[in-house]
Structure formats: C-alpha cells, structure tokens
C-alpha cells in the first residue's frame, strides 16, 4: 500500500461513517492493506465508541465537584502531621438522580473518607427534611482499641463511642457544616469536614 496515496480527508468521514457505500469500501481496502493505518483507525474508532459509552456526560460535573473537595482535603492533610486529616473520596449526594426517579427527601446519602492508614464510611438517613441520623464505621484499625468520635459545630459537640466493630451512631443531627473528630482515648487520630 506504500504507493497508494492515503486520503486523510476521507478517513475522517470513514471514522464518522459518513461515506457512501462505494467510497466506504474503497477506503476500507486502503486501510486493510496498511497495518499502521489500520491500527490507528481501530484505536480512534474504539476510543470514540468508548467515549460515547462511558456515561461521562452525566459523571463530569460530580467528578469535578468531588475532585475539588478531594484536592482541598489533600492540601489540608499535607499541612498537618500524620495524615490525620480526612480526604473525601466518595459522596453519593453529588451524583445525579437517575432519570425517571422523583427526587425524594428519603434518599440516604453515603460518604467515604480516607483517614490515616484507614478509612471511614458514613450513611446519613433523613428523619425529617432538615435532620438526619448518622451511622458510620471506621476501618483499618486493629481490634480492641478504644475509639470514639465527636461531631463539632460551633460550640455544639455531640460525642459517640464506637462498638467492637468501630461502628458509631449519632441519632439526630441538623443540617450544617460539621467537623468530625476521631479519638483514641484522649488523642485525636483523625479529623474531617462534613457538610450535612
């Protein structure tokens, strides 16, 4: 195929599937006989179809929003000692509501943070339009340690102990911005920001 001139302007239409059948098969023959060209077209076509399939249109905004939060958390964490500052890596509240589903106040929100060498998962269950029950679990801590948490908003503090599986529950909290601190005895082993 070295002596046949490649029609690059037609190749784009070929990729876009906008050629008439005769032209299409003529260009296809050119491609078939040129391995480098064949590879290039195959990859571009595969990437094009992947881009269409990847749901990126719906996921772009939540991904940017999550990334901004995660990036700020990492910056704060890097300023302090011992990776104590929690990095938000998942928030179901950022995801768009699937088509055909009515927005409902009863939707449970789930959050995940990386703290130290472990992570913390939390679920917020609405009990009224502006108040929630918070249930969380701390993972990555060896068994048998005395771990408690404290939710702080201004001067208000709500403390909760964890059970043997490091599960904790705060039965009622209202909307607002909170800090969640994690303690082992009197020492702070983690802290994260939480917008409820």
């Amino acid at each position: 195929m070295k002596n046949m001139k490649i029609e690059f302007s037609k190749l784009v239409d070929y990729i876009e599937e906008q050629l008439d059948p005769d032209e299409y098969s003529r260009i296809e023959k050119q491609i078939e006989n040129d391995p480098a060209l064949k590879n290039m077209i195959a990859v571009i076509k595969a990437l094009k179809s992947e881009a269409r399939e990847a749901d990126w249109i719906q996921m772009k905004k939540p991904s940017h929003d999550l990334f901004d939060r995660l990036f700020e958390d990492i910056k704060k964490r890097n300023c302090g000692p011992g990776k104590k500052y929690g990095v938000n890596i998942f928030d179901s509240g950022l995801l768009p509501i699937p088509e055909g589903i009515r927005p409902a106040e009863v939707e449970t929100r789930r959050l995940k943070y990386l703290v130290g060498d472990g992570d913390i998962e939390m679920s917020l269950y609405p009990i009224s339009p502006k108040s929630f029950e918070l249930i969380g679990q701390i993972n990555g801590i060896e068994q048998g340690r005395s771990i408690s948490v404290e939710l702080v908003r201004g001067r208000r503090r709500i403390a909760a102990k964890t059970n043997e599986f490091y599960l904790f529950r705060i039965p009622k909290i209202s909307s607002g911005h909170y800090s969640l601190r994690i303690f082992e005895g009197d020492s702070t082993i983690g802290e994260l920001q939480l917008e409820i």
């Binding site: 190749l11 290039m40 939540p62 995660l70 990492i74 179901s92």
Partner: protein, 201 residues
C-alpha cells in the same frame, strides 16, 4: 515539531503540579472516560464507579509529582483503575472464591474480548503518546472531534478553539496524516492486529 505542540501534556501535568485547578479539570476530563469505562466493563454500578474514580483521583494527586512520563498518563490511570477494581472485588471476597481470573472473566456486554480490551488500552497509550507531539490546538481538536462524548458540532469546536469552521476539515485531515506519520515510525508490534502487522513486515 515545534516546542508549542511538543509538550502539551507535559505542560498540563506541570500546571497540575503547581495546583492549577483548571488544568486539573482538564486532566480529569481526559482520564474520567477511561476510569468510568473500565468500571463499566467490570460491571460496577454507577456508585461503585464513582467510588473507584475518587480513589484513582486520590492516587493521581499523590503521585503527580513523581510521574516521569506525562505522555503515559492514560496508561498509568488505566493501571491504577484496574488495581482499584481488583481491590474492590477482593474486598467482596469474590476474587478469592473464583480465583484471580475474576476481573478478566467478569461478563462484558461489548463484543470485544477482555484480551482485546486490554490491547486497546495499550494501543490507546501509544496513540496518546503520538498525540502528545501535536500542537495544543491540534491535540484539542482531535479530542473534540473523536473523543468528546458530547460530540460538539463544528460550530462549537470553532468557538472553543477560536478557528474558522471552514478550516476544521482540512486541519483534521492534516492532523490524521501527522498522527499516521508518527505512528508509522512507532512499532505497533503488539495488539489485536499484530498478526496482520507481522504478515506485512
């Protein structure tokens, strides 16, 4: 090839290293479809995929300073995404139950086999390396023409890239020719089409 076009990805990564939020969003737009696509192929739900995206982003931010080959960013992201997916399934204890082939054997709705998908990931890396030798404008044009899921019209592309609609057609052909030239010098020795390649050598 001039300096302007040579190192678009390098400059993008450099801006990310400096904490430029717009550059990070541009990088996220580049890697996002790769992450979500790999998750979809591994049969993860939307929530699970978003979780994987967060973990991959976390790793990317933490390793951006030590990334030695910016042109290999997509291969790097594909690798950490696969690892995260594997860890996810291991967390569910499915991997131990069914063996290490689980990820590869997870049902895939596409017509391509896992082997072909893997090859496409590798070829994608080579294509993006070739694209990194294009100018910033040409690079963005390729992205918008072929890889943007929103499939922008020529008018939208013209507005975003500040170029006349009439010049998009000729430029896109020139870019493909340039990519072809770069790729012809590259060895596409592996891949789903490697047999054909070997026959013609």
């Amino acid at each position: 090839m001039g300096d302007n076009r040579r190192d678009f990805l390098e400059r993008l990564i450099d801006l990310c290293r400096k904490g430029d939020k717009r550059a990070w969003h541009e990088l996220i737009d580049l890697i996002g479809p790769v992450v979500f696509n790999l998750c979809r192929k591994s049969n993860l739900s939307r929530d699970e995929s978003f979780d994987i995206f967060g973990r991959v982003s976390y790793q990317l931010v933490n390793s951006i300073n030590s990334l030695s080959s910016p042109e290999k960013i997509l291969s790097f992201v594909a690798t950490i995404t696969r690892r995260q997916i594997f860890d996810f399934y291991r967390g569910l204890q499915i991997v131990e139950y069914y063996g290490d082939q689980t990820i590869e054997s997870v049902a895939d709705e596409t017509s391509r086999s896992p082997h072909e998908d893997y090859e496409i990931v590798k070829l994608r890396g080579i294509l993006f390396e070739a694209m990194s030798q294009l100018s910033e404008r040409d690079y963005k044009l390729v992205m918008m023409l072929f890889l943007d899921p929103e499939e922008p019209s020529y008018k939208e592309i013209s507005e975003k890239l500040k170029m006349p609609v009439s010049s998009i057609g000729p430029i896109r052909a020139k870019i493909l020719a340039r990519l072809y030239k770069v790729l012809s010098k590259t060895k596409w020795k592996f891949g789903v089409f490697s047999e054909d390649f070997d026959k013609t050598k």
